[in-house]
């Protein structure tokens, strides 16, 4: 049809699809799934870091941490808005999350037992997120691409802050250095898993790449990320916990140990360290806040009626 042709042309031209443009139903569904998953990840992702807001060891770090978690809430809001342009309501997305029907990034099912995790999350998790997300700034769906531009800017700021936390620890006392290394040991592999399964086992990737929602394969992005980490780890003085990790001149890529994909599958299946905690906290915040949201809605209605009468 003419619509389909026009859609294909826009994609072909690396131009943007906008909310009022026609789009294939599968494209819409894929985007809703991906954007809402991304939004949920920002929201659930607040939890592991909020764990240290009340215990942050200096006022400067407390402020930086609050600002970071606040940014995540903000990212969640932009992304929910972007998803809403595709015709799904925020309440519906939230229900899907609470019912376990919508996913969020598995990385947030890990715990943050130590302050150093505030550094490792910034350096590794936000670092991996950036590698994943920078290409999304050119995503074919306009509202998503534009949200990602804003988000990526802030994420790279977060990554630098995480690096600084680790750097401060690595230049500190033996206990602080140990704390930093332990945290890197715990977060390194989960952060590599953030790029998703190896290319030959990633079923949705081909279509997403054709639609220019996605622009690089999982393994390409993972390689790029590791390449970025290696010199930074040296600068920090931390050891990346992979004895096989080294540059392969021939392949022009890093050799690495095989990733433990059963771990990935376990967390995905709900058996990660913190899946139950994360969902409980979200549900309780939502339920405890119900009376507040109802009050705000009722008040807004009354005000609108008054204005209508006046």
């Amino acid at each position: 049809s003419a619509e389909e042709r026009r859609f294909a042309e826009i994609i072909e031209a690396d131009s943007r699809i906008e909310p009022r443009d026609w789009m294939p139903e599968a494209y819409r569904k894929t985007l809703i799934r991906q954007i809402s998953q991304h939004a949920h990840s920002e929201i659930i992702g607040m939890q592991p870091e909020s764990n240290w807001i009340t215990r942050a060891p200096s006022l400067k770090r407390k402020a930086i941490l609050i600002a970071k978690v606040q940014d995540e809430a903000g990212h969640g809001l932009y992304l929910y808005s972007a998803a809403q342009t595709l015709g799904i309501g925020r309440e519906e997305m939230n229900e899907q999350l609470l019912a376990g029907k919508a996913r969020y990034s598995s990385i947030f099912n890990y715990h943050t037992p130590s302050w150093a995790d505030m550094g490792a999350i910034g350096w590794l998790v936000d670092g991996a997120a950036i590698c994943n997300q920078v290409p999304l700034c050119r995503a074919s769906y306009g509202p998503y691409g534009r949200a990602m531009v804003r988000i990526c800017k802030e994420e790279s700021f977060h990554q630098r802050q995480g690096f600084e936390i680790l750097l401060e620890l690595m230049q500190g006392t033996p206990a602080q250095r140990e704390m930093a290394q332990d945290s890197v040991n715990r977060w390194y592999w989960p952060s590599l898993m953030m790029f998703g399964p190896p290319d030959d086992e990633s079923p949705n990737s081909a279509q997403s790449m054709a639609w220019k929602i996605k622009r690089f394969s999982n393994d390409e992005l993972r390689q790029r990320f590791v390449g970025m980490l290696v010199p930074q780890a040296e600068a920090l003085g931390v050891t990346l916990p992979d004895p096989e990790l080294k540059w392969n001149e021939e392949k022009q890529a890093y050799d690495m140990s095989e990733i433990d994909w059963t771990e990935f599958q376990e967390v995905l299946a709900g058996r990660g360290p913190a899946n139950a905690e994360r969902m409980r906290r979200r549900r309780e915040a939502h339920e405890d806040g119900a009376w507040v949201r109802e009050a705000a809605a009722a008040y807004a209605r009354t005000q609108a009626e008054r204005k209508a009468v006046a």
Partner: protein, 245 residues
């Protein structure tokens, strides 16, 4: 001067304790927009606390973090209002209403302080607490004018918080000693009452008639809420004395 340091410590502790309380909301708020708003307010308050405690510490060679993390409960100078528990969202809003209206009046006048450091800190802070005030007022209106349940909760929360209003407006020798460098708390009572009366009138609320809590925060006497809060706030810093973060 030592007096200016003590005065800055009082204001700094008020801000720090309230920021710590608000920080505990983040990722638990009734809606994401409120996670953002409460984080914003907490951030502003930590900013004020840092400036004020930095200034308070210069006289005695202590850093903002020495003061925040290595003082014990009897050395904290915050008023009782700020350490009151978060309770439900209504309690947090009631506490915010009192805190923000008070701080707005205070910082507004402190911009004219004879102490240039305090004046500069106040000039920045007053714009921020103006936003905090607006945030609290809007929520008081929404909760009081929302549902029956929200109105009931708002009234209970205001009654629970009101005993802690009086302490904020008490003068003592420190204000005598500081003269034009400080603001006499008693002079803020009238504008505070007027601002609150306007909010209550719009919200259709009566001013709570409650007892007046004794207070004593300015002399290091606190309610039973501060101790456990400090235990959590200070635990990591104290486990690594001398470390830098």
């Amino acid at each position: 001067s030592e007096e200016a340091a003590e005065y800055a410590m009082r204001l700094g502790d008020d801000a720090l304790v309230l920021a710590q309380r608000l920080g505990a909301w983040i990722s638990r708020a009734p809606e994401i927009e409120e996670d953002v708003a409460l984080a914003n307010i907490a951030l502003d308050l930590i900013g004020h606390a840092r400036s004020l405690l930095h200034y308070a510490g210069t006289a005695s060679g202590r850093s903002e973090d020495d003061l925040a993390y290595f003082r014990d409960e009897p050395e904290f100078r915050s008023a009782w209002l700020f350490e009151q528990p978060n309770g439900d969202f209504g309690h947090t809003i009631a506490r915010q209403l009192v805190a923000a209206v008070y701080l707005f009046e205070l910082y507004g006048r402190l911009t004219a302080s004879a102490d240039p450091t305090l004046a500069a800190i106040a000039a920045k802070a007053v714009k921020e607490v103006d936003y905090h005030r607006d945030h609290a007022v809007q929520w008081v209106l929404r909760l009081a004018g929302g549902t029956e349940e929200s109105r009931r909760r708002m009234i209970v929360a205001l009654a629970d918080i009101w005993p802690y209003v009086d302490e904020l407006f008490r003068d003592d020798e420190l204000h005598d000693a500081l003269g034009e460098a400080a603001v006499r708390p008693s002079t803020l009572r009238e504008p505070f009452d007027a601002a609150i009366a306007a909010v209550f009138a719009e919200a259709g609320l009566d001013e709570p008639r409650t007892s007046i809590a004794r207070g004593g925060g300015r002399r290091g006497i606190h309610t039973e809420h501060l101790g456990p809060m400090l235990a959590e706030m200070q635990v990591l810093a104290r486990a690594h004395p001398g470390a830098s973060w």
